[in-house]
């Protein structure tokens, strides 16, 4: 347990905060949080943060409760796991999920935490973690798809003082940076994380100066209380007393031949509280897909779905956590035992959103979207230049792909967009200027979005033509289990990956692989999943379907899924459409299912090899 060294330990009396001051503090915290993002984006070197913004900031109260942020992390757990003094000017760093109660969930994420002092007293914490594009280990980018222990996943940093009283621990930093492939990236990104946290600290100190420490801290309490009260009212409004809701989704495989992993979540409200229960989920995986989930993070994800719609401007915080009990079974997918491998947990993070969506949408149609969160599909390419001016020089690409956004109550899911906040793709011209590759195609694929009144977004096909020999790695999912549709909407298409070799052969790749050799002239097709459809496709305006045929987003053949008869030029045939729709209606049940997950699991597994070109995985079992 950390010991906090304060020169002023007197109790800060709490005072009444008028509602307007409260909103001013809320606004100031929000500005500080976005400023943290900005500082890091602008200064980072590693592609994961620089171009794709894979980072998450947080400002906490003196007890470590998050008062602003969006991906929560648990400062109390972090402090519990740190044995030593923490004083003014200290900056702590860790990358060990097992040492901080899963405040971070794989070793690529470096977590910086610093105390914010005003007049010798801790008035809060600033913290931020970012995904380092490489932390060493056996494969470039440090995400080996066949890892079975965390020891294979690069340097794992226990919580320690990167800065003590403002002075950096150069020796420790040197030891850490000696483990990684591109130390310049890590050094710059770490600088950025620290600079961002210090910016947040400065903003908090300014607010304390402007409003007074008593008022500032009292305002934080009130902001936490505001979330608490809002959530309490919302829980009563949305969930029936005593009724248990459940939802199950899957991760297709674990990279070493097992799958699909069943992920189950149940919810019951009793009185003021709800209970989130992950019991019924598969055991921990042998491969690296385990998602070590912090209970507070589960609360946070739950809260996001609940409050976003009620007051989109609300400042996210931990205030409602006491209203949510969480059960995560030991040894399950969500709470694996050390030293289980964790690097590829991004599929699980994605799936958690589909799980909450499917679960909460059952009570609140305004929140029921179709499925779309496959994961955060990763693509890596690295090697040494074989000739020319840069002969021998190391290159290492790390990038994140995007698929179809699900059909939504609001409308169609955008094609080839990000489900993650502030993520963007790396421009083709940037990639071609800095890496030995050429992109032959970057487009969304017609008909891959699930049919629906609101269509699911199409998946994306990016065709990478390699110009230098090297190796590639892929992390993706939803190649086997479908992105489900809702309220009568159809599932979206599954993702695929293959290489057209320069010798003319075609090689199907699994969705999780690394160290796959490529040669100049080989072309990789990285095809992501489509979003599920929302609502009855037979109710979609035929003219809109015709327009989408003209746009190349739906084919004439694909239009038949909407019961629309249309030619390749997008001209609809109203009479034939009416007839086809009548025929399709006659051949289906009166009541459309709320969820359409595609064929049953047994059928999917039986047809796996035939449909995907890949062997069916083996079902995992609890020991």
């Amino acid at each position: 347990m950390a010991r906090i060294v304060e020169t002023d330990t007197t109790e800060v009396p709490r005072v009444e905060v008028d509602p307007v001051t409260l909103d001013l503090v809320e606004n100031g915290l929000r500005n500080a949080r976005y400023e943290m993002d900005e500082v890091l984006f602008r200064t980072a070197l590693s592609p994961g943060i620089r171009e794709q913004h894979d980072e998450f900031p947080l400002i906490a109260d003196p007890a470590g409760k998050m008062v602003v942020g969006q991906f929560g992390l648990s400062i109390p757990d972090f402090l519990a796991g740190f044995d030593g003094d923490i004083g003014e000017g200290d900056v702590l760093l860790t990358s060990d999920p097992y040492a901080c109660g899963a405040a971070i969930s794989h070793a690529n994420d470096w977590l910086v935490v610093l105390p914010i002092f005003v007049a010798g007293r801790v008035v809060g914490w600033a913290s931020m973690f970012g995904h380092m594009s490489d932390v060493g280990g056996k494969t470039p980018s440090s995400m080996p798809t066949d890892a079975r222990t965390i020891y294979e996943e690069g340097v794992v940093i226990p919580p320690f003082k990167l800065y003590e009283a403002g002075r950096v621990n150069e020796d420790a930093l040197r030891i850490i940076l000696n483990q990684v492939r591109v130390p310049d990236w890590n050094r710059a990104d770490l600088n950025g994380l620290v600079a961002a946290c210090r910016t947040a600290a400065r903003r908090v100190q300014e607010m304390c100066a402007r409003f007074g420490v008593e008022t500032y801290l009292s305002a934080l309490d009130a902001l936490l209380q505001r979330n608490h009260d809002a959530m309490k009212a919302l829980l009563h409004l949305v969930f029936e007393e005593g009724r248990t809701l459940s939802f199950t989704d899957y991760i297709c495989d674990d990279g070493v031949g097992f799958g699909p992993y069943e992920l189950k979540l149940s919810l019951t409200r009793t009185g003021d509280k709800v209970h989130l229960d992950f019991t019924g989920s598969s055991p921990q995986a042998q491969g690296p897909i385990n998602y070590y989930l912090n209970e507070n993070l589960a609360r946070m994800f739950f809260g996001i779905y609940m409050i976003t719609v009620a007051d989109p401007q609300i400042l996210w915080n931990d205030g409602f956590y006491p209203l949510v009990d969480v059960t995560i079974p030991d040894g399950s997918y969500w709470k694996p035992k050390h030293p289980a491998a964790l690097n590829a947990r991004n599929h699980g993070i994605g799936r958690v959103f589909d799980l909450f969506g499917g679960l909460l949408g059952q009570t609140n149609p305004a929140l029921l979207n179709a499925a779309g969160f496959s994961s955060s599909p990763h693509f890596m390419y690295s090697g040494n230049y074989s000739g020319g001016e840069r002969k021998g020089e190391w290159f290492q690409l790390y990038s994140i792909g995007f698929g179809g956004i699900p059909g939504r109550p609001l409308g169609d899911g955008p094609d080839g967009h990000s489900l993650w906040p502030s993520f963007v793709n790396i421009p083709c011209e940037f990639l071609e200027s800095y890496y030995p590759l050429r992109i032959e195609k970057w487009e969304t694929i017609a008909d891959t979005g699930g049919a629906g009144l609101h269509r699911g977004g199409n998946g994306v096909d990016v065709a990478y033509h390699f110009l230098e020999p090297g190796t590639i790695a892929i992390h993706d999912d939803r190649w086997l289990m479908y992105p489900w549709g809702v309220n009568g909407g159809a599932p979206g298409a599954r993702g695929r990956k293959w290489i057209d070799r320069v010798d003319g052969s075609r090689e199907i790749l699994p969705s999780k692989c690394h160290d796959v050799p490529v040669r100049p002239g080989d072309v990789l097709h990285f095809v992501t999943w489509g979003g599920g459809g929302w609502g009855d496709p037979l109710l979609r305006d035929p003219e809109l379907v015709g327009l989408e045929v003209r746009r190349g987003l739906v084919t004439a053949a694909g239009a038949r899924r909407y019961g629309v008869v249309v030619d390749d030029a997008g001209t609809t045939d109203p009479a034939a459409t009416e007839a086809l729709r009548a025929q399709l209606r006659a051949g289906r049940p009166e009541e459309l299912p709320v969820f359409d997950m595609g064929p049953g699991l047994d059928e999917i597994l039986a047809r796996c090899e035939e449909e995907t070109g890949l062997p069916a995985p083996t079902r995992p079992v609890w020991a």
């Binding site: 600088n191 719609v309 963007v424 487009e443 003209r550």
Partner: protein, 688 residues
């Protein structure tokens, strides 16, 4: 005798300012705007000002105009039907839009995706490929390209944009497609990405090129029509249009690159504010332009507005140089609301707009706005715009009372004060964006407040930021017209370089920038500005090798002349990085984009001169009114701004009224009328 004429067309009024080019003397006139054809109001204004000054139309040598025609085309979605030609495999570049979804986690649930500016059915592919080094990987298939262009013709496109992959490195295929388009789509204007924005990043370049085509026909029609009208009315002067970066562009040049004029309006305000503040002896400024639905802020150092590389209009962000104006989505029309669940007070982003407008306008609006709060507190007199608008105080009160009820506040005044505090806090966020977050301390700057609502909130923002004095220039429309009349002709050339600084020697650096300066200079000569009068400034977008974003470093010919130019550039970048982010890296530097801006001379305009007063402000005092401030009612003096004389000191609390704006002076502050016609608000000595 020859005269310059500055023209600003606002939503309500058209302001014109006539300047005697020899003496610098000015005359002003204000007429109602004519939205259906803005040129009618402009010509009416010219008549009025000429009559007032006793000047013949034939003596007007230059007409300088800031226009919102391009901006409105985008905001109203009424631009041209644009066809887009991309490299094969990249037809969906605007559809994918870098895959970006705004908002936080779960933000995708509530995000309505805007339609691409060039529809996907009007986007075609050319079989061709240029490599990132500018080499031809695949020659252009002309027949297939012609066929694709014929599809666009059949679709009835009104403008064509061509944006090919790596065209920033080599433009030969784009130029060839322009030639093919001249045959296949005769009469359709073509925008090439290699001309509009020869910089890396295919999405941003395509979008900017399409935006250029999108607004081009309207801008061309408007500018051509206005030019013709001016000629017909006997005005011989050449028409120039204000660019987003605050420079002037000949009408012809404006028509070919209208994307550089999207922020013509706000740029006029900032340019005018700079000029007015200079008359009061201030060159370090934060400008604060608060209108009905949004507020623009910008930072000015040494009398020069910071220029940004992005232009934002509504949802659209394009890469075009513009005065670095940050927009806060709140203004006088912003609606206050209290979400039931959290009972927090929120102001905006919804706005009552012009219709129905604030409740106080009595046009059916019932929701409480910032303007209503100002009325309830007594800050806004009940007649506005010289009597054209009468405010309904009771309606405002009723609307604001709903906020008081929802929050459990004791009175409508308390709720109104809360609304003002919250909206001021939003404004403060914007002011911090351009100051603190760029490493500048707002206390080192004066705050120049304008726009319909700016002067009402300015004193409070001075208090929040410590930026003194708060300068309130003469009426807002005049300010923009002044901006139009006081700026200089400008042109710019830019290109992507992508070279490491330590691999460039001083001569190469000189060559890169020299070439750009030459081409911009040539175009400016073409616009009638002799080379001898040109001033050149350079700017380099630099980053540490491996970073994803650049910082712009500006410099002059001195650096280019030095033997260690590249090293000096690196040092300047380091200093900027240190200031912004508090650290530098041991990595090398990369020159990403190079840019040269060439300007003509700045015209002479004589400052407005108020008659000196005798120290007695009572002549301007028209009465008193009750206002609610800091939790209590106090008596505030009412003053007529037009009656203030130089040196007059208005003690707060006070309200200073003119036709199209109202200034609030808080207790503990004074407003001094200076000789240039501005009000300078400062804390009273006792408080300071």
């Amino acid at each position: 005798m020859s005269y310059r004429l500055g023209v600003d067309v606002g939503g309500t009024f058209t302001d014109v300012l006539l300047v005697d080019e020899e003496s610098g003397s000015t005359w002003r006139a204000k007429t109602a705007s004519t939205p259906s054809d803005q040129s009618i109001g402009v010509l009416h204004g010219i008549d009025k000002v000429c009559a007032e000054a006793g000047v013949e139309r034939g003596d007007i040598a230059h007409v300088l105009h800031g226009t919102t025609v391009a901006t409105n085309a985008i905001l109203e979605g009424k631009g041209a039907t644009v066809g887009l030609v991309t490299t094969r495999g990249f037809r969906q570049v605007l559809q994918i839009a870098r895959s970006f979804v705004p908002g936080g986690l779960a933000g995708w649930i509530i995000w309505p995706k805007p339609e691409p500016l060039a529809a996907l059915e009007n986007t075609v592919e050319a079989p061709e490929r240029i490599g990132s080094d500018g080499s031809v990987v695949l020659a252009l298939d002309e027949e297939a390209t012609r066929a694709a262009l014929r599809v666009l013709r059949a679709n009835g496109v009104e403008a064509l944009a061509v944006s090919l992959i790596n065209a920033f490195a080599d433009d030969r295929h784009e130029r060839r497609i322009a030639e093919l388009a001249a045959e296949e789509l005769p009469g359709v204007e073509v925008s090439l990405s290699s001309v509009v924005l020869p910089e890396m990043r295919e999405y941003e370049r395509a979008l900017t090129t399409v935006a250029n085509g999108y607004v081009q026909p309207q801008v061309a029609r408007y500018v051509a029509n206005l030019s013709a009208q001016l000629t017909r009315q006997g005005v011989p002067g050449e028409l120039s249009i204000l660019r987003s970066d605050g420079g002037l562009s000949a009408a012809e040049a404006a028509i070919s690159a209208p994307v550089t004029m999207l922020l013509s309006g706000p740029a006029g305000g900032v340019t005018g504010a700079v000029w007015v503040a200079e008359q009061s002896g201030h060159t370090e400024l934060i400008t604060f332009d608060m209108g009905g639905t949004s507020t623009d802020v910008a930072l000015v150092r040494g009398g020069t507005a910071r220029i940004g590389r992005e232009t934002k209009v509504g949802d659209l962000t394009v890469r075009a140089s513009a005065v670095d104006v940050r927009t806060v989505g709140a203004g006088g029309g912003s609606i206050a609301h209290v979400p039931q669940l959290t009972r927090a007070l929120r102001v905006g982003p919804q706005s009552a707009g012009a219709e129905p407008g604030p409740a106080a306008y009595g046009k059916g609006g019932a929701e409480p706005t910032v303007t209503d709060a100002n009325v309830v507190l007594g800050y806004l007199p009940t007649t506005l715009a010289g009597g054209e608008i009468t405010l309904d105080r009771e309606a405002a009160r009723a609307a604001v009372q709903t906020v008081a009820d929802a929050m459990g506040l004791p009175s409508a005044e308390a709720a109104a004060a809360g609304i003002i505090d919250i909206v001021n806090e939003n404004m403060l966020g914007g002011l911090r964006l351009v100051s603190v977050q760029q490493g500048f301390d707002p206390r080192d700057f004066a705050l120049v407040a304008f726009g319909g609502a700016g002067p009402l909130h300015a004193n409070a923002l001075g208090r929040l930021t410590g930026a003194w004095p708060v300068i309130v220039p003469p009426s807002p429309g005049v300010l923009c017209a002044l901006g139009d009349a006081t700026t200089s002709a400008r042109d710019e050339s830019a290109r992507t370089v992508l070279r490491k600084l330590d691999e460039l020697d001083a001569a190469e650096l000189r060559a890169v920038f020299g070439e750009l300066a030459e081409s911009a200079s040539r175009r400016l000569v073409g616009q009638g500005v002799p080379a001898g009068e040109h001033t050149v400034t350079y700017s380099a977008d630099l980053r540490f090798v491996g970073q994803g974003n650049e910082l712009a470093v500006t410099f002059d010919a001195g650096l280019l002349g030095a033997d260690d130019g590249p090293a000096q550039l690196a040092r300047r970048f380091d200093a900027e990085h240190e200031r912004l982010f508090s650290f530098t890296l041991p990595a090398g530097h990369e020159l990403v984009n190079a840019r040269a801006t060439v300007s003509g001379p700045r015209p002479r305009v004589a400052p407005i001169r108020l008659e000196p007063g005798d120290g007695d402000v009572s002549a301007a005092r028209t009465g008193a009114t009750r206002i609610y401030v800091d939790g209590d009612f106090v008596d505030a003096g009412l003053y007529d701004r037009l009656k203030l004389r130089a040196g007059d000191v208005v003690p707060g609390p006070a309200i200073v009224v003119e036709m199209d704006s109202t200034t609030l002076v808080l207790p503990g502050h004074t407003a001094t009328a200076d000789a240039g016609g501005s009000l300078l608000i400062r804390p009273s000595v006792t408080e300071a």
